[in-house]
């Protein structure tokens, strides 16, 4: 039985499970709400541990689960404890904290046991530290844009300013969606020159040299197999606004064996075995690593390059466990 941890809006899961069904792979798909309090019991006895799950009204033991695809969903626990009306707020807060700690220990243990199965990724790696990934890349000899986190203009200029060249800014962590006045706006990458009014001092912000892009690379990898596309677009980073631009060209591209080895090393250090990598190639042909994302969408890449990635995911689970 293959466990798929996803969410109900993820189309990539929909496509992949068509292949699961076609390959006659037994699976259960669990979306957001199906993932809370799925554990019936955890028992340590007769020299072994066993976990009993209730997965969408189906009782399944840990032994019956052969593999797990951590696509997006997060397995977790939630207590229905609200408050202790008879007692003080102080005591209530402490009980909540206690329950949270209990939940964390329980979750970590269940995930650790599931991680011993044949797995794609792990829910603990969904939100990889972006700075950490840049550091890993640098240490593995993968070129990255000059990057600086600063609190004043002078320091930014000193670190990054080159005559005639642009500087960009973006969130330190992942893209963030702001909701206000009924609107949703994303914190995308922006050129510093786009801001008319720049204060002298500011809160910690990330700055990067702007790469004079020839094209971008989107690289999907699964278990050290790489599927890469070159994307010819006008945008400043990997994100596109299809309403403003012509559909960018997305065509198959082959990365060098050296880069493959480096990226495989990077994935290993990030503790993921499936995901997407964004890179940029500048006008002189130099590669720059931007980010690595285990839960990104790969449907466009699969469709335009005819890579059939949904089948590749199902195929991964048809094999015997391989050492990652």
């Amino acid at each position: 039985m293959i466990l798929i941890l996803s969410d109900c809006t993820d189309v990539s899961t929909d496509y992949a499970i068509e292949w699961f069904r076609y390959c006659r792979l037994p699976f259960i798909r669990l979306n957001d709400i199906d993932l809370i309090n799925t554990v019936v019991s955890v028992e340590f006895k007769e020299g072994k541990q066993n976990i009993i799950f209730n997965l969408k009204e189906q009782i399944v033991s840990l032994d019956e689960i052969t593999a797990v695809w951590f696509r997006r969903g997060i397995l977790g626990f939630q207590s229905n404890f609200k408050n202790m009306s008879a007692h003080s707020q102080e005591l209530t807060d402490q009980v909540v904290e206690l329950i949270n700690l209990e939940n964390k220990t329980l979750t970590d243990f269940v995930i650790a046991k599931l991680a011993q199965k044949q797995v794609l990724n792990n829910q603990n790696s969904y939100n990889i530290n972006k700075l950490q990934t840049l550091a890993f890349a640098q240490e593995l000899g993968i070129n990255i844009p000059v990057t600086a986190i600063e609190t004043n203009r002078k320091a930014v200029d000193a670190a990054l300013k080159r005559p005639g060249e642009q500087i960009i800014t973006k969130p330190i962590q992942d893209i963030f969606w702001l909701n206000y006045n009924g609107r949703t706006e994303a914190q995308y990458t922006a050129r510093l020159s786009d801001y008319e009014d720049r204060p002298e001092n500011f809160y910690y912000s990330l700055f990067q040299e702007c790469i004079d892009k020839k094209y971008e690379l989107r690289i999907f990898f699964i278990n050290n197999d790489f599927y890469c596309a070159a994307i010819f677009s006008e945008s400043t980073d990997g994100r596109h606004d299809s309403f403003k631009e012509k559909l960018p060209r997305i065509i198959p591209y082959q990365i060098s064996d050296k880069l493959k080895t480096q990226l495989a090393g990077l994935a290993k250090r990030c503790e993921i075995n499936c995901g997407s990598i964004d890179m940029i190639i500048d006008k002189s042909g130099k590669h720059y690593f931007l980010e690595i994302n285990p839960v990104g969408q790969y449907g466009m890449l699969s469709k335009h390059c005819n890579y059939n990635l949904h089948e590749k995911i199902a195929h991964y689970f048809t094999h015997e466990k391989e050492i990652i």
Partner: protein, 349 residues
């Protein structure tokens, strides 16, 4: 050239297909020859060896490709070598991709659903040949098909009682799987989009077997999936199954050959019978005349009505295009086609 762009060479000219932007260009046959001779080579150096006349034409070709964003320049041979061709593989994770089911006699419906059973059919097209009295009637008719294992449903029905777009609003809302509704024999010609479902009202009177198989530019499909399927398979019949109004399981309702009746054969048994899948792999490159046509891989096909009925590789009867002089004419009045028209009884329509 961007690898999403492909040439389809015809007798007199070629079609340059841009699968990513769903468009095509009609170009001289010398263009694909030119492109294959210079692709991934040093352009300036190659062109310098051309004589004046060829040089001018070659420059025009390059300009055309760049202007339409169909090609790009690489700085080195190594860079060019990193751009791989797109795989021409066509795969789909189910035994069949679509089914056409004719419903005339309502008594057949339990047998139809029984014969399909739990067999997964991604797209189910149900054609109601029986009169649909009103919208409530349609709700009842579609009920048995909702429960079958599928991703989407398309329905066609004869619009006897002048059902309108407004009538279908609530119907579409409650049937999210229905992606297309065709109301034929309507009094008006109109189309609309309702909760993700396309509604087509057409004055076309007849939706029965004999009305199918027409080849028209309106049916061209410029997508990569269609193109890759067309290279290896038949673009009408590949992974198709059908049940006609008499309960016969066939490749398509308009064909003669039956692979069993719904009362004694399941869908799965029928497709495994010898011959059933033969039609799936007759590609346009093997069909007479079509194989010389520049439109062949964006086109539909028909194996039910043929110019030469006894030859399974004959050109579709209902195609009015001549790839040797690049003209479209009305197939039904072509004197050379009168014999097969009479053979199929199409003259009686």
């Amino acid at each position: 050239m961007f690898s999403c762009c492909h040439f389809i060479k015809g007798a007199n000219r070629s079609l340059l297909l841009d699968t990513q932007r769903d468009s095509y260009y009609l170009v001289p046959n010398s263009m694909p020859d030119f492109i294959s001779s210079v692709s991934n080579l040093d352009l300036d150096h190659t062109l310098s060896e051309y004589d004046q006349g060829d040089y001018e034409i070659a420059l025009q070709y390059v300009e055309f490709l760049i202007k339409n964003d169909l090609a790009f320049f690489c700085d080195s041979a190594e860079e060019a070598a990193a751009f791989l061709p797109i795989s021409m593989a066509w795969q789909y994770p189910s035994e069949v991709t679509n089914a056409v089911i004719e419903v005339d006699n309502l008594v057949f419906i339990p047998a139809i659903t029984h014969c399909i059973g739990t067999f997964f059919i991604p797209t189910l097209h149900v054609i109601f040949l029986c009169p649909v009295v009103n919208i409530d009637h349609l709700w009842n008719l579609i009920k048995p098909f909702n429960g079958l294992s599928n991703k989407s449903i398309q329905i066609s029905f004869e619009n006897k009682d002048q059902i309108t777009v407004e009538h279908l609003t609530d119907f579409c809302y409650h049937h999210p799987k229905i992606e297309l509704i065709i109301a034929f024999n309507s009094q008006i010609e109109t189309s609309a989009k309702m909760f993700g479902c396309s509604l087509v009202f057409t004055k076309q009177k007849d939706f029965s077997k004999a009305a199918c198989g027409s080849i028209q530019q309106e049916y061209f499909n410029t997508g990569l999936r269609h193109f890759t399927e067309s290279i290896q398979h038949n673009t009408c019949l590949n992974r198709k199954i059908s049940i006609d109004s008499e309960g016969n399981i066939k490749n398509c309702p308009s064909m003669v050959e039956s692979y069993g009746k719904i009362w004694d054969t399941t869908i799965l048994q029928a497709i495994e019978k010898p011959g059933f899948k033969n039609m799936w792999n007759i590609s346009k490159d093997e069909i007479m005349v079509c194989k010389d046509c520049e439109f062949r891989h964006i086109c539909t096909d028909c194996r039910a009505y043929l110019e030469t009925p006894e030859n399974p590789h004959s050109k579709p009867l209902k195609c009015g295009y001549n790839p040797y002089n690049n003209t479209w004419t009305d197939w039904s009045i072509n004197p050379l086609k009168q014999q097969p028209i009479i053979y199929y009884g199409l003259n009686e329509l």
